[in-house]
């Protein structure tokens, strides 16, 4: 039965008044997959996630979660989902452990089982030593780990993570990624949104790039890079000359030349060769960086915008 998708959407639309947040998207997420929504703020990722989480109904289109209809079977679907929202909504009046137990009770779990499950999960997210403490003094990374533990309390079939590492420092991010990796290895289906390219590359088997409520590309990170970018990218910075002027002079170098406000990007099969060519054609750059192509480049190519907002 691996063929039946856990999440299936066709022509999915979400409108708020005149504003169309999600504009007719098709999706299919298979069991065990780690699926990502990539895109800038306002692309429609969170609205899509809220529809998948059955807390917001589609305005139009078809949506099936675990084979059920969110409009009629919301509670039954939510019983099998784990949700880690973008904004932490842990209960500050409860202890770390009570947060998990209380949440487990919302799923109708018996008290004893809830307590055992809470202990297990605190171990898993490395917060066992904080079990009896308050939530407030926890660091941002700890809170996010606790939220993830809470999302796992009902042993969900699908875990929804809305920007799981936004606002965390690098160490906290890596610890979180490592834990999410563990989940993936256990076969939990992960659906996440992010606007971090490295996160999408690290965690997702497959992803869709959203912009303006639409899906503009989809595939594995590797396939997306292969399809929409070149293996290597040269980043050139200049002193006096404006990137736009330089880009004109460099036309024809590599496969494509893009001018950003602060630098020029040259997409090429061979970065070093392209860098040498750029040296010959244009003014002497203040700095040169040859790197592997990333999803950021894919995104830039697809939407014409950087993700820095």
């Amino acid at each position: 039965m691996a063929e039946q998708p856990l999440i299936f959407a066709r022509g999915l639309v979400k409108r708020f008044g005149d504003f169309t947040a999600v504009d007719g998207i098709d999706l299919s997420v298979a069991p065990g997959e780690a699926f990502g929504f990539l895109g800038p703020n306002g692309a429609g990722k969170s609205s899509t996630m809220r529809m998948i989480g059955c807390v917001s109904l589609p305005t139009a289109g078809e949506l099936r979660i675990l084979g059920m209809d969110p409009a009629r079977q919301g509670p039954a679907i939510r019983a099998r989902l784990g949700v880690c929202p973008q904004l932490d909504n842990l209960d500050p009046d409860l202890t770390v452990e009570e947060n998990l137990i209380t949440y487990a009770r919302y799923f109708g779990m018996p008290r004893g089982l809830a307590r055992r499950r809470a202990a297990e999960l605190l171990e898993f997210v490395r917060l066992a030593d904080r079990a009896g403490g308050k939530v407030e003094p926890l660091s941002g990374g700890m809170k996010r780990r606790l939220t993830i533990a809470r999302a796992l309390v009902n042993e969900p079939d699908i875990v929804l993570l809305d920007e799981p590492t936004t606002g965390l420092d690098p160490q906290a991010r890596h610890l979180l990624w490592e834990r999410l990796f563990q989940l993936k290895r256990r076969g939990v289906t992960l659906v996440l949104t992010t606007h971090y390219m490295d996160e999408a590359e690290q965690l997702c088997d497959r992803l869709v790039v959203m912009d303006g409520g639409r899906i503009v590309a989809q595939g594995s990170p590797r396939a997306l890079i292969a399809e929409h970018s070149t293996p290597e990218v040269v980043e050139l910075r200049y002193g006096q000359e404006s990137p736009a002027e330089v880009a004109v002079k460099l036309a024809g170098v590599g496969r494509r030349v893009d001018a950003l406000p602060d630098r020029v990007l040259v997409y090429a099969e061979d970065g070093d060769a392209a860098a040498a060519q750029a040296h010959e054609r244009g003014p002497a750059p203040a700095s040169v960086l040859v790197r592997r192509s990333t999803l950021e480049d894919v995104f830039l190519h697809l939407t014409g915008r950087t993700l820095v907002d």
């Binding site: 969110p70 009629r72 919301g74 929202p85 009046d93 009570e98 949440y103 919302y106 109708g108 809470r150």
Partner: protein
Amino acid sequence: MAAVGDARGARPVSPASTLAVLERALTVYRRVWRGSVFSGFLFPVMFLVAFGIGVGGRVGQVGGVDYLAWIVPGVLAATAFQTAVGECAFPVFGDFRWTRAYHAMRATPVRVGDMVAGWLLYIVVRVEIATAAFLLVSALFGALRSPWAPLTPLVCALVALAAAAPMMGVAARVEHDGWFALVFRFVVIPSTLFGGVFFPVERLPAVVRPLAWLSPLWHGAELNRAATLGGVPPWPVAAHLGVLVAFAAAGAVLAWRCFSRRLED
């Protein structure tokens, strides 16, 4: 805008989820109950001493009983009324705005109806604790004069629901907690001062008397008074009860709608 879809053909509440919501409220209460001793118990008792005994010494008899015995049922209803409104103001508002506890519940099988019903049950628990303690003190003061007095906790529960349910709707609806000051000043305090707690509403000018009838507190105070003093309330008992039930039912619907809307955003 599409309403949150639980209610389409499905039951609006499930007992297990409602109890889970109540359980969370009680878990929090276990940690902060000390504060409520003041507002729920000490304040009404102080009121009783200051007015029942202090001012009462100069008032003499009202409706055939001493002033203390006359105000006890009113203060009892007022305690239920104020506790209910107070517990549905900042706590509910905060659970939407600051802790986002309702958003957390929303991601689970808990329905909007469960959130409303669970919190209302919690309010009843709180009010019953306060009522029981206050009744005990009133009995010690000799202010309970009728075998019907044990019915007052039921009346107080109804007053609490009639006040709490609409207030939950307001708390889920407003964008700023400044509104609560207005609710207290224009609804709660006038109700307490003119709703038949300190003096009979018959003493109010005839034009403003209907305003008192609009307050659940007055109906609760009169029912309580009939129960502790053994008289007959001004309206038929069924009418008083009907008003309270209507407030509770309409309030619950309002709360359900406001919660749904708030959680939809």
